[in-house]
């Protein structure tokens, strides 16, 4: 039944795209010429060319080194800066609801069963230059559910339109966990840190046994344990198929995450990591990547008292991998560049800061083969900027996803979502190709 539903979803998405694609100008070969190009995985090109075809990047290089294919539509972007669409490793857009507080550990819950693709937040996200998001449930549970990786494609009517699918066609996503004070609450939630860890370990032990029973049963249906979708998800995490995205602030909580992840063998990304600068060497030694957030000031809760602009720089110098996240709505997706710039203010290198908005995040989602850098063969997800990415005065002028323009600051409707104004806060109308924009007729 589930398979059938998915199949219907895919058919709908595919036919929908085909129908809408007829009016798009973006299908053929396009060459963006003259911009300063920041590929992230290669040196910045002062006067470059980006060629895209069929939703993929075909070529990137210096203007005098790239031969623009015959028949390519030339777009003059002299004076602009082009970089990859940004990857937000931790985001709460979409009016989502994960775990429901009935239990502290809810691996059965999928966030994508709750998401509203028409939420105005997605319009703001593309205006901010975000193209790939990890949408997560909150941090009020030890494990609040499965996250979903999405692309902010032009058509976003259903969650199926947004999925990033693995080779088997399954929607990709991770697992959201948390420790520290947010998930310490009244029963049945834990009251202490040790209890938090014990509850998590207990659940993973259960999942280990479930996994082993399944393996022992082989094809013998009489020996198979009853299917448990929660334990299945934990088994996937232990197999490395689902990365655990772990909210954690205090230095000792960070070490607990590392300890538990090593015990059960799940791959983990540390999120927020407020005290990361205190245990940077330990994080680097464990080889655990960090997705961090920079907020204006410390405090607001005890475990965030030492939040620091310098965290990114200290982790970078220690040799740890660093990405930034918006945690939207904690910070607005439209000011995502600010995180990287404040990171530089606090001592991070420019190169690492820009990588932390793009490729490093992609790596933390297992999506670095598709997004995060301007590399031939990867998805044509990129943004056109008016200037230096780290300057407050720079504007995201266009955002492209898989070869389609999903945001254009010169379009009044997009502009409304880029800067705000009356109506900008409302959930947006579903996108249909031929009704909203006169130029699409």
């Amino acid at each position: 039944m589930k398979q059938t539903t998915f199949a219907v979803g895919i058919v709908f998405a595919v036919t929908g795209c085909a129908a809408r694609g007829q009016t798009a100008v973006d299908g053929g070969i396009q060459a963006f010429v003259g911009a300063r190009i920041v590929p992230i995985d290669a040196a910045t090109i002062e006067r470059g060319v980006l060629v895209i075809e069929g939703g993929k990047i075909a070529a990137v290089g210096a203007a005098d080194a790239i031969e623009i294919p015959a028949g390519a539509a030339r777009v003059d972007v002299t004076g602009k800066t082009i970089m990859p669409g940004m990857v937000d490793t931790h985001n709460h857009i979409g009016g989502i609801g994960g775990g429901d507080s009935s239990a502290p550990i809810q691996p059965d819950v999928r966030i994508y069963d709750s998401l509203n693709p028409l939420d105005a937040g997605f319009r703001r996200a593309v205006a901010g230059g975000l193209t790939t998001l990890n949408i997560m449930p909150g941090s009020g549970h030890l494990l609040s559910g499965q996250t979903v990786y999405v692309k902010l494609r032009k058509e976003r009517l259903t969650i199926e339109d947004m999925f990033i699918r693995d080779e088997g066609g399954k929607p990709m996503g991770g697992m959201k966990m948390a420790n520290g004070t947010n998930s310490m609450r009244d029963k049945p939630f834990p009251g202490t840190r040790a209890k938090s860890a014990a509850l998590v370990r207990e659940q993973y032990v259960k999942a280990q046994e479930y996994r082993d029973k399944l393996a022992r049963a082989g094809d013998d249906v009489t020996k198979k344990p009853a299917r448990d979708i929660g334990l299945e998800a934990l088994v996937a995490a232990m197999a490395g198929d689902k990365i655990v995205h772990h909210h954690t602030h205090r230095h000792d909580d960070i070490m607990t995450v590392i300890r538990v992840s090593q015990e059960f063998g799940f791959r983990v990304v540390l999120h927020h990591v407020s005290d990361g600068w205190k245990v940077a060497d330990e994080i680097a030694a464990a080889g655990v990547p960090c997705s961090i957030i920079l907020v204006d000031s410390p405090g607001g809760k005890l475990e965030a008292l030492d939040v620091a602009y310098k965290t990114g720089g200290i982790l970078e110098r220690a040799g740890a991998k660093v990405a930034f996240h918006t945690d939207d709505w904690i910070t607005d997706s439209r000011v995502f560049f600010r995180s990287a710039a404040l990171g530089v203010r606090g001592g991070m290198s420019r190169a690492a800061a820009l990588r932390a908005l793009t490729l490093s995040g992609a790596e933390m989602l297992d999506l670095d083969d598709r997004v995060g850098s301007l590399t031939p063969g990867k998805d044509a997800d990129f943004i056109i900027l008016s200037g230096d990415p780290l300057s407050v005065y720079t504007k995201v002028e266009q955002t492209w996803v898989e070869g389609e323009k999903v945001f254009d600051r010169s379009n009044p409707e997009d502009y409304l979502h880029a800067v705000g104004g009356y109506g900008a806060g409302d959930a947006t109308e579903p996108y249909f190709c031929c009704f909203e924009h006169a130029e699409d007729y």
Binding site: V295, D296, G299, V307, A308, I330, G425
Partner: protein, 482 residues
């Protein structure tokens, strides 16, 4: 003008000079904390008769290389904490001392005229005595602080820092008393915490003056005050003990879920109007009734009376257009001075706000676009300003993480969204000071005004620029890059 090195003694707000001391730990923000509550000094002060000596010599003018603590030269010791401990508590010093501080800027934005290139600001006994090109300032020693850009100390036009503490636990949350919906008698001076860590935090970015106090969230939550971001007690810090009475219109002030009034917009206005009418009658009776028939003193009505008499403006936080319209209606009915605060949808009512002659302290430019704020615009400050409405920017109230915003960043975002550089700077200096009624003391670099200066190693609005020095009342309170 010749500036002598040896100055006459002074007395600074009765507590003597501020001695900057360092903490011996690195702060989370990459610098070393320059708080006034540190435990170690960097260098043993030279003393004569028990008081620190004024500056005599400096070795160079490298930005931040030298500074003067109340006239005392201190060698730069970046990256290390040297010098014997010589703890001097503020209150231990009742001694008076002369003090001269000199600041150099490649560009000095005075906010009282065009920017001046290659200029210096001289402060004597806490006040500015000279601002102008270095060429005509015959100073006899190098500046204490130098930077690419020098601005007046930043004035945050609306904050709750000092009330809504960093810990966010009941013991440090004094911004909102919810026992009654209308409590204008709550004085800000009775709650402002000078030792709050976030005071020192925002000061590190150049914020020298805060308009802070009771937060939005009740119909009338209490009073606000204006303080400098230094001073041992509120008496030392205060610039204006009662600045406004803070009111809120809109759902944030509604208490329906608690089974209390107001539960609706209509009820909220009815309650406010009734209370102001009561205060009108109270004033009249207090003034005109025979001595034995005068009503008993009532602190609530007295505070509203001060609003009715024009002594205190009513600062009304209102975001949605109908709530802003209600604020204007209230101002008209009672002929009171109001300041609009927040005002997310003010762009819909520009003509009305302008006609009423009301200044607006616009919400933080990067405020989250949800709830009442869902239609907020980055361009509101620019739209109002360009319509001729007096505008200031604010850090606002934050209930969670981050526990405060930094008004410098909010102005930066406004500068990137329609305001010119100088308009944005004015919104956190001179125009903020004017709206708050403290422009005679702060907000611009002019002779006779307080020696409040902020220094930056580049465009102050760029994220990657650092604030490299902060001077308050002529005293260097911070000189580590933030």
């Amino acid at each position: 003008m010749i500036l002598s090195l040896f100055q006459s003694p002074r007395r600074q707000r009765g507590v003597g000079p501020i001695h900057v001391k360092r903490r011996n730990t690195e702060t989370p923000f990459g610098g070393r904390d320059q708080g006034i509550e540190g435990t170690r000094e960097r260098e043993k002060p030279e003393r004569r008769n028990g008081i620190p000596s004024p500056a005599r010599k400096c070795s160079d003018v490298f930005p931040g290389a030298l500074r003067t603590d109340a006239g005392r030269p201190v060698a730069r010791a970046r990256g290390s904490v040297t010098g014997p401990a010589g703890v001097i508590g503020l209150l231990l010093f009742s001694a008076t001392v002369s003090a001269q501080t000199i600041v150099y800027g490649e560009t000095v934005y005075t906010m009282a005229g065009p920017p001046i290139r290659d200029a210096i600001v001289v402060m004597q006994d806490g006040k500015i005595t000279f601002v102008g090109p270095q060429g005509i300032a015959r100073i006899s020693r190098p500046p204490d602080l130098s930077a690419k850009v020098v601005t007046p100390g930043i004035v945050d036009a609306h904050s709750t820092v000092g009330f809504s503490g960093i810990f966010n636990h009941p013991h440090d949350q004094d911004q909102l008393e919810s026992s009654e919906p209308i409590q204008p008698e709550l004085r800000a001076i009775d709650a402002y915490n000078t030792k709050e860590k976030l005071v020192a935090f925002v000061r590190g970015f150049g914020v020298t003056t805060l308009h802070t106090g009771h937060a939005p969230g009740e119909l009338i939550s209490g009073q606000t005050l204006v303080v400098k971001t230094h001073g041992n007690t509120v008496n030392d810090a205060v610039l204006k003990p009662a600045a406004t009475v803070a009111a809120t219109l809109g759902p944030d002030a509604h208490k329906k879920e608690r089974g209390k009034s107001p539960g609706t917009r209509g009820k909220a206005m009815a309650m406010l109007r009734q209370q102001f009418i009561k205060a009108q009658e109270y004033l009249e009776k207090r003034e005109k009734a025979e001595e034995d028939k005068k009503p008993d003193r009532d602190l609530t009505l007295e505070a509203l009376g001060r609003v009715l008499q024009g002594e205190l403006p009513l600062m009304i936080t209102a975001h949605q257009a109908q709530d802003i319209a209600s604020a204007l209606r209230l101002a008209g009915e009672f002929d009171i001075k109001i300041i609009l605060d927040g005002a997310a949808e003010a762009y819909l009512l520009i003509d009305e706000i302008k006609a009423a002659g009301i200044p607006v302290i616009v919400h933080p430019s990067m405020m989250r676009a949800y709830g009442e704020m869902k239609n907020m615009s980055f361009e509101t400050a620019a739209k109002l300003r360009h319509a001729g409405i007096p505008v200031a920017l604010q850090s606002g109230y934050e209930s969670y993480v981050p526990k405060t915003r930094v008004v410098l960043f909010e102005a930066a975002w406004a500068a990137a969204n329609g305001l010119t550089f100088e308009e944005a700077l004015a919104s956190i200096t001179i125009n903020a000071a004017r709206i708050l009624g403290v422009a005679d003391r702060v907000g611009s670099l002019e002779v006779g005004k307080d020696g409040d200066v902020a220094l930056y190693d580049g465009d102050p609005f760029e994220y990657t620029t650092h604030c490299t020095g902060v001077v308050i009342d002529g005293v260097v309170v911070s000189d580590d890059p933030r």
